[in-house]
Symmetry: D2
């Protein structure tokens, strides 16, 4: 941490900063320049926050030097690392497709979906069972009873089950039903209790963020999970009207963990889903979370139909081969 004092800062104010650095068990390095005094905090910065210095009198700014996350940081793991999900991996080369439906309304639809995805050669069976945007007047999804059924259907078809949770009770239900991968709804980023429990679980996690998620909040949520021992974390970016692909590179620079994209949002047209899927892959995404038309509640009809999903699947290796940098 570097604390930049204002030009008017008094020596009493400098001392207050130093006292706080020492109270946290670090030592200080003071550099008095012509215009400003800079104070460096030397040692493990993680227990410090820039904010606790920023509001002290005489402080202009406090700047982190070390990242607040370590377990999920490329500092600790310079090479990108794949995540294993039931025998397969995400992040070890050719991108993967995680097809599914955001909200399943009936058991019959869930069964049809499992059959179709198995028929299409998918490895995944992604099915949302709980509504993620509140609307008491719309279908609420299959809910808890769907969780067990999802697990059974996935096992019956040899598929990898994925579903979205937003609460500790749903987590428990998923563990009981032996769901293979847990998707954490965007709001969970701000629920450290659920993040912590997910960290104690031996299941890979798909960690959703939305377009406006600050990268540091996202990485710290992953750090919270990892701090419990669960390092199988995949970031999932998208699901919003705006699709800022710069976040792929920015995440991949910070973390060794895989980054997949969901180039979709309610009301988008199929060609835009295709265009943004290809853009995500070209920009280096490790996979795509896509929706299949005709299985979910009405709102999902903007998703891909089967021919488009198949085309996307065939394009994955070619696009990978074309766009990855040549070996040095």
């Amino acid at each position: 941490m570097i604390i930049v004092m204002t030009p008017q800062a008094t020596s009493v104010q400098v001392d207050a900063v130093i006292a706080r650095i020492r109270a946290a068990g670090l030592s200080e390095h003071v550099s008095r320049g012509v215009e400003r005094t800079l104070i460096g905090a030397v040692g493990d910065e993680r227990p410090l926050s820039a904010e606790q210095f920023a509001s002290l009198p005489g402080v202009e700014r406090a700047i982190r030097v070390m990242k607040p996350y370590r377990l999920v940081s490329r500092d600790t793991h310079p090479d990108r690392q794949p995540v294993r999900v039931r025998g397969k991996t995400i992040g070890s080369g050719v991108p993967v497709l995680l097809p599914g439906v955001p909200l399943i309304g009936s058991e019959a639809d869930l069964e049809r979906l499992a059959g179709t995805l198995a028929g299409l050669g998918s490895h995944y069976l992604r099915a949302g069972l709980f509504r993620s945007v509140a609307n008491p007047w719309h279908d609420q999804g299959l809910g808890m009873p769907g969780v067990e059924r999802l697990g059974e259907l996935a096992r019956a078809h040899g598929l990898t089950s994925v579903t979205t949770i937003a609460d500790t009770r749903q987590l428990e239900e998923c563990l009981q039903a032996d769901i293979d991968m847990l998707e954490l709804a965007p709001g969970v980023l701000y629920n450290p209790v659920l993040l912590r429990e997910t960290g104690h679980v031996n299941k890979p996690v798909l960690l959703r963020g939305c377009e406006t998620t600050p990268l540091t909040d996202w990485l710290m949520a992953a750090e919270q999970i990892a701090s419990g021992g669960n390092h199988s974390i995949v970031f999932c970016l998208g699901g919003a009207e705006r699709f800022d692909v710069s976040a792929i590179a920015r995440l991949q620079r910070e973390t060794h963990l895989p980054v997949v994209c969901e180039p979709d949002f309610p009301g988008i047209r199929q060609d835009q889903v295709m265009a943004q899927s290809l853009a995500a892959l070209a920009a280096g995404a490790d996979g795509l979370v896509v929706h299949l038309q005709g299985y979910g509640t009405d709102e999902a009809d903007n998703a891909l139909d089967e021919p488009h999903l198949s085309r996307l699947s065939r394009l994955l290796p070619d696009l990978y081969a074309l766009t990855r940098p040549p070996a040095a």
Copy 2:
């Protein structure tokens, strides 16, 4: 709902839109103009979503006419309505102050805080017990054991207890400890399961949103709570670096429910908290969620000190008198 067709839309595409309108139990009104065909869906729009039409072939746009929310809408309640919280109200005239601390780290701090707030004449004792932004290397807050203690201390001092929850288990604990008011963390907006359970509870709710929350998502979260029978909902805006006061007027135009503000974020300086508090009140906020210095974990030190809190408290009635429009 008005569905605007593209100039090139075929009659088959028009028929598909009509079929979907009828399938939802509504009827259609078709108006063929020179440039475009417009199709109105006549009847209760709530089971429809604009998105399910927007992605149909030949559709340019689908525009809601009725609001997707009704219970929390001023259409249903033209006059603004206060919310009762343990014998007092929010939203019935002079704004209220809800002082507290975002994250309490120890029982001793909680006790001190209760004593101080009682001494300052506060009606509220707001204390965060769970971290809301993940950081495994920082203090996680008192957690579950703090909930019961908060209830006891509030009763002992005659204060109204408020704490933040993000999960159904925390909700249960708060009910058991008879906490007076439930603050829902920002991520809860995207957790309809917890929203629904909160709707079945007989406790007033403080519904947090952040600067980037779309207003409709926020109002639909309130609608979800209200649909369970709990109409005691207070919107709480703020807690972010940017403080867009236009949301106060925009919310108050849509809903009869009170709107309070939190003009604070980690690292803000005390004068900016004061300036933004006054701005929120001048813009019509029904109350302020403010933080008191010296009781929470380190990061909260940017909050107001006692003299500033007292000054703010004294200014509330004068600012109200000055800024409210004169009676017609």
Copy 3:
């Protein structure tokens, strides 16, 4: 235009809306529903603005049905149309590369750049001569004297000259120097006087927008140019830290004009430029505005080096072939 009245709207307020519609030379169609009265304005909507109705008493919302732009709209030109730039086209198939330098500091650099781009087989010579983000302490660029030199060098090497302007005087200088294509700096979107003059000029225009530009403002700026008779307009998206590729599809849905991207911003790393270039192409961009390293002022050093530029150039046709939808 559809004007949605509030449930409480009086008949006097309805009449005021009708009067305003008639004053603009349109006629009205009133539809009184159970919950709300809707008023349709029938006729050419362009002289109306939604805002002039939105603020009338008793009005809840005013919704445009027709687009405020017509000349640049796909309503008028259903098929996408290329733009001719000195014998070549943008938007007629395989995307094009517009390489250059954002800010040239000396005539020597400009000469070297022209030689290099000619050697690389480029058709374009893009060179910024005026600083676009204010900084009085940094290099201001070659300025006016560079304009004539740019024209000469382009002619000497058989290249197509492109430079950025932000003011009518710079426009005049460019016409005098016979510059081939005019790039309008982002701020020009809010300078209708310069837009209008550009509309009277017989030169293709590159119309820059930034990430936060509302699409309608951008399209209206193009409409302003087109209304003067100049229909050779190419949209250029990017140049910012965030790179929202959804704007490509959204623009292409509204307009028949080409859309190119600049996947670059100060301080970006070369691999991210490459990744975002490929993403833009995969998402359907008609071309790329890219920067070449080593010719501009210091700040441009984050641009592509020659090997990367060559690789990008070789990838254009393959990526186009791979990602464009198969013929029906």
Copy 4:
């Protein structure tokens, strides 16, 4: 400038950074920590940009210590300083009102406006003469001929004339007509040529920014003006749907120059204008740019009527007295 190297940075990469620091005439201070090497650039940072280091191999981040602006910085002028505008000041205590009309369509309207504002006791006559958001199908404003008339009317009524410019030709016309204060349209922030010319002029400047303007770009635009010798700069914030009052405090922390607000945008309702005006004042704004109903083109009808404008004027001193911090 502090350059933070990545953990993997080689000594060759460190040397390249040092070389660039020395090339700019500064010296370096290298500090090798356990996890990272930090390199400080010692000397005048202004000719450096963080971006030119950020993209060098082995560099993780480059952090400015000194501000890139100096003339407009509170570092240089610790106390806030008022700006004189034709005998009056902005920023020297009780906030001022700058009433006017965003776009005047006829000379008759301009004359009526001058009479009314004089009658209301205003010191200012603000009148937009050029459209600022392109729309070729709407009224374009009085244009150049209005400039001279504005000057005459202001002199006739003893008012201070203010108008908006976006181009060097408009600047010339304003100088010729002896307009008292120049408002720079938002796009001008990205037009250093016009900023530079405004710096050579002996007229106070109102420098508009919009909600999405990065604060540094805004301050650097002011720095560009100031570098020419013109230090009479007033920042003007607002004019957009979102009204983020935090920018007032953030600007006032960086600069000694006054900050006024425009709590208005097309389509806003009069009560929201009032509420946001009061919010801006309570948050510390030095003045308000407000619009008067009934004089401009149709779109301006959402502005304040005369009774509201008078009420606002009466509230200024009381709100100032109430909300300013008590003397220590």
